[in-house]
């Protein structure tokens, strides 16, 4: 075919592509000649120089672009009888735009409805995608697993990993390419610019290799640096590198003062090394395989060899663990556990994600049903027009396609709007949502969300376009034309009425699911809010201090420092009291195992729940407003290394250790495993349970010892301070900063917040989900009622004549109103009958989020149903009054 050079030049290929803008028959008839001529002349031009050639190509391309519209225009109308899909689509589209333009109000309502549905879906998808669908930012993330240990008899699903256990696993397990440990490490960084508290990890030397990341600069730790003797080397995170060192490339080898000791920077971590959250540096873990005693507390990560399944790895890990059971744990109290990495870090959000996703989908379905109803009503009104088109030879398929095109056009507009609104919604959700989402999770509105939105829009268009299109397929053309079609005389066709009714019933049923669901979530949230946290948060400010061992080497030095801080705080005007504790509510956890005096040592398989152990100053209870149930608080002068050890226990521990004793004051207990029986702890008081793990989780047994009894450095290294004042938290925070700075300018205040904020934060995710679901339910209710209003108005319009006859025969206005309202209520009744069992089954999925409320709470369901019925009656009233206003003479005169 091509008479010219077999190998086309680049310009010829571009020109070839450009030719596609010409009408098809031009290309068929002349394409080869045009290209040949182009190539011919381009070659001539080329011979005269590159500039000449370029000018020629540009000229030819410009000619093509300029002429193309004319060529299309010239062919207009030439193919009127050919039904090319593109042409008929464009015609349908023009038609759709014109017909929507005639009803701007109704169209705007439809678009708005869909926009809301699509916005909810895209926003929620962005969250679900970030949490559950996006891969970890590491190579081959599917091979990464999370390692830990469990001890069911201690009531612990995660004990943390014991370093010697890990050492054994690493040597014996064969299905892992590598495995590593990490522990959280927060340090004080100090330099001339001031003191700063930063979070990081202590990691084994092969942590980077296991994750599959490389340092941006420098190197990772060597095996020797991770030996049993500590080494002063550090890898800094990307953020720290940028903020503290301005991204300078000669940072490797420079010193960094950590906890008042000099360290050497050996490398810079890439951004993704923020895992598992806000990590700004790595230190060597320096574990000791011969460590004595059970010190569980590390997290583990493993990279499986290619082709190894989780089950195989799990079995391999059990096998590797076997010698430990033989050597020191014959009852198998502690056993290793292995889970998918993602499951471990996002499992908290799974229920939330599912619930939000389901809620958004329900809203979209209701929006679709609503719009389908509106479109159907339109198509019925347009019955005559459609019938005429069919009589003139348009196939049912052709008319159906017209209707689908209309829905596509609507969905496209709503999709664009919904995507924009969704973006904003996502922003809103993230602003008010839970802040505990791991920072490596990317919650953004990216390409994937847009793709999802497009899919949703297309599916939406199909769903709501289908109902009217199906209607056309079975429309009876003759009947429509003979009866006068859309004329007011004809009564509504039975199948059309049924379809409209079915759509409204579906909307009501789905709205009931959302209403009941949001009712349950809101009730659960309010019951959570009203839960007694065990302390009075009003007016209390809390913060933490962390004393570096280099400067405060003994418990005595630490105690003196804290005493000074607390005394000066208490002397500040406006401050009522101040106290210290090792772990503030919702903060850290330090567990111990206890045995009551007289009780037999627990058999190895018996349940032995861990007890939350805190050291507190005497005034801590008063400061936090913790109520005493029995006995008294200890005093700061009580106790000591030699004397009796007074402890205050919570009600839960009292029940646990002395279930049959009314007043445990005076009872004694001892650390499990303390065989010398010298360090008896004596109960001096019982206090209310402070919900240490948040209001959602049940409280475990806990006890308080006197902070001034702590005789080792470890417990007091990091301490929480609580201050109750009448002068406002901001003022107290300022005073606290000044006091600490005066004592030690290198010491930063950590987690400065009001106790109320900490409490709110602990239930923030429940608030978000309840709020979002309530918003969904509100939208659903409005949509369902809008749908019902539309259908009833339509029906009243179609039954004017019948109503007129009734009134002419003596029906009173009240009877007519009742007639219409009853019709609306009948729809609600059917919707509720269908929706109720669906809700009862579907909302069981919520149970993990429902604390203090049953998923079948009858009050919530009754209120939801009443709300639906009442608002439905109101929405039926407007068309009903219109019906009652029918003047029989006019209505009959129309006949």
């Amino acid at each position: 075919m091509q008479p010219h050079a077999p190998r086309r030049s680049l310009s010829a290929r571009v020109f070839h592509l450009l030719l596609r803008v010409l009408p098809e028959d031009v290309r068929e008839g002349n394409g080869a000649e045009i290209e040949a001529l182009f190539a011919d002349q381009a070659a001539d031009a080329h011979a005269r120089g590159p500039l000449y050639h370029a000018a020629f190509v540009a000229g030819a391309a410009w000619d093509l672009v300029r002429r193309a519209p004319y060529e299309h225009w010239r062919r207009r109308g030439r193919h009127r009888n050919e039904d090319s899909p593109m042409r008929s689509f464009l015609a349908d589209l023009r038609f759709a735009v014109r017909s929507f333009g005639r009803q701007p109000g109704a169209t705007a309502l439809i678009v708005l409805t869909l926009t809301l549905g699509i916005a909810a879906n895209t926003a929620v998808f962005a969250i679900v995608d970030g949490l559950f669908l996006r891969p970890f930012p590491f190579p081959e993330p599917g091979r990464l697993v999370y390692l830990n240990e469990r001890a069911p008899s201690w009531n612990l699903e995660f004990t943390g990993i014991n370093y010697p256990d890990f050492h054994t696993w690493r040597e014996r397990a064969s299905t892992f390419e590598s495995m590593a440990l990490w522990g959280e490490a927060s340090v004080n960084l100090a330099d001339a610019s001031g003191a700063e508290r930063v979070n990081g990890l202590a990691v084994t030397w092969d942590f980077a290799k296991t994750l599959g990341i490389r340092p941006v600069l420098g190197r990772t730790f060597t095996k020797e640096e991770d030996g049993a003797t500590p080494s002063r080397v550090v890898m800094i995170g990307y953020g720290l590198w940028q903020t503290r060192f301005a991204g300078s490339r000669d940072v490797v080898g420079q010193p960094l003062r950590i906890n008042s000791r000099p360290y050497t920077i050996v490398g810079v971590l890439p951004r993704e090394a923020e895992f598992p959250g806000n990590t700004q540096f790595w230190l060597p873990l320096n574990g000791d395989p011969n460590q004595k005693g059970e010190n569980y507390g590390y997290d583990g990560i493993g990279r499986l060899k290619r082709g190894v399944t989780i089950e195989q790895a799990r079995a391999d890990l059990m096998r590797a663990h076997a010698p430990i059971w033989v050597a020191r744990d014959s009852a198998h109290v502690v056993s290793p556990r292995l889970d998918g990495l993602r499951d471990q870090f996002v499992s908290n959000f799974r229920a939330t994600g599912n619930v939000l996703g389901a809620g958004a989908l329900l809203v979209l379905l209701i929006a679709c049903a609503n719009v389908a109803g509106a479109m159907l009503a339109r198509s019925i009104f347009r019955g005559r027009e459609i019938a005429i088109r069919q009589a003139l030879g348009a196939s049912a398929r052709r008319v159906g396609r017209q209707l689908i095109t209309e829905s596509l056009a609507l969905a496209a507009v709503a999709g664009a709007g919904g995507t924009l609104l969704g973006r904003w919604l996502l922003h809103l959700l993230l602003t008010f949502g839970p802040d505990q989402i791991p920072p490596w999770v990317q919650l953004q509105f990216g390409v994937r969300t847009i793709v999802f939105a497009v899919l949703v829009i297309a599916a939406t268009a199909l769903v709501f376009g289908l109902a009217p299109a199906l209607q056309v397929q079975r429309a009876d053309v003759t009947a429509q034309l003979v009866s006068g079609g859309a004329g007011t005389r004809a009564s509504v066709g039975i199948p059309q009425r049924r379809m409209l009714d079915a759509l409204v019933v579906a909307e009501i049923a789905l709205a009931l699911v959302l209403l009941a669901g949001s009712g349950l979530l809101v009730r659960a949230y309010t019951s959570l809010r009203n839960t007694d946290p065990g302390f009075r948060p009003e007016g209390v400010l809390t913060f933490r201090l962390s004393l570096p061992q280099a400067k405060y080497p003994s418990a005595l030095a630490q105690r003196q420092f804290y005493s000074t801080v607390v005394d000066r705080l208490a002397a500040t005007p406006g401050v009522q009291s101040a106290g210290v504790i090792t772990c503030l509510p919702f903060g850290c956890h330090w567990g111990m195992f206890l045995r009551a005096e007289g009780a037999a040592p627990p058999s190895r398989n018996a349940s032995n729940p861990v007890v939350l152990t805190r050291y507190a100053s005497a005034r801590y209870f008063e400061t936090m407003g913790i109520r005493l149930v029995r006995g008294r608080f200890f005093t700061d002068t009580e106790g000591g290394p030699t004397g009796p050890h007074p402890v205050v226990i919570n009600e839960q521990l009292a029940k646990q250790l002395w279930p049959n004793v009314a007043d445990p004051v005076g009872k004694r207990m001892i650390w499990n495993g303390d065989t010398t029986s010298t360090d008896w702890l004596t109960v001096v008081g019982v206090v209310r349970d402070v919900r240490h793990y948040g209001l959602v989780k049940p409280m475990i047994g806990g006890l308080y010892r006197s902070a001034f009894e702590a005789d080792t450095v470890q417990p007091l290294a990091s301490l929480g301070i609580a201050v109750r004042s009448a002068s406002g938290e901001a003022a107290v925070a300022g005073a606290a900063r000044a006091i600490v700075k005066a004592l030690d300018p290198e010491l930063p205040l950590i987690e400065v917040r009001s106790a109320q904020a900490a409490l709110d934060r602990s239930i923030a995710d429940r608030r978000t989900i309840a709020f979002v679901f309530a918003a969904f339910a509100g939208i659903a209710l409005a949509l369902a009622l809008g749908g019902m209003y539309a259908v009833l108005s339509y029906v009243v319009g179609r039954r004017r004549q019948e109503i007129g006859i009734r009134m002419a025969l003596g029906a009173r206005k009240g009877q007519v109103v009742g007639l219409v309202v009853r019709q609306g209520l009948r729809l609600v009744a059917v919707g509720v009958l269908i929706g109720l069992p669906i809700s009862l089954v579907a909302l069981r999925e919520l149970s993990s989020l429902l604390v203090g409320v049953s998923a079948r709470d009858p009050v919530t369901y009754s209120v939801a149903i009443l709300l639906l019925a009442a608002t439905a009656a109101v929405s039926a009233l407007i068309p009903a009054r219109r019906a009652a206003g029918v003047d029989p003479k006019t209505a009959l005169g129309e006949g």
Binding site: L22, N30, E33, I34, L37, Q41, G59, L64, R67
Partner: protein, 111 residues
């Protein structure tokens, strides 16, 4: 009658001399206009289509002289209607030229 479009006029003029193929027309028109009018490929073939639809030119199967530009499939020839259209255009131009000459010479318009 409106003016004939420029490409049409020059294509007809070119074909009035002899049958030509596409690039022959382009070259001839460049010569005729001293390089002022270049018929770009799409415009050329679009115009040829239009002229053919008007019945003013037709395609001929073979080159007029053996050996000449055998590579080209399509040759174009002016039809009698085409010649009439060209003559009509020429006369229109002629008449306006006559008017212009007389006015510039200070004479009255031709009756």
């Amino acid at each position: 009658m409106p003016d004939m479009r420029r490409p049409w006029f020059y294509i007809l003029l070119s074909l009035a001399q002899r049958d030509r193929h596409g690039s022959g027309i382009v070259r001839d028109v460049l010569d005729l206009t001293s390089g002022e009018l270049r018929l770009w490929p799409v415009t050329l073939y679009g115009s040829l289509d239009e002229l053919r639809e008007n019945g003013w030119i037709r395609e001929v199967g073979a080159a007029p002289v053996a050996d000449e530009d055998r590579g080209h499939r399509r040759w174009f020839r002016i039809t009698p209607q085409g010649r009439r259209a060209l003559v009509g255009e020429m006369e229109r131009m002629q008449s306006i030229v006559t008017v212009a000459q007389r006015r510039l010479a200070g004479l009255g318009d031709p009756s």
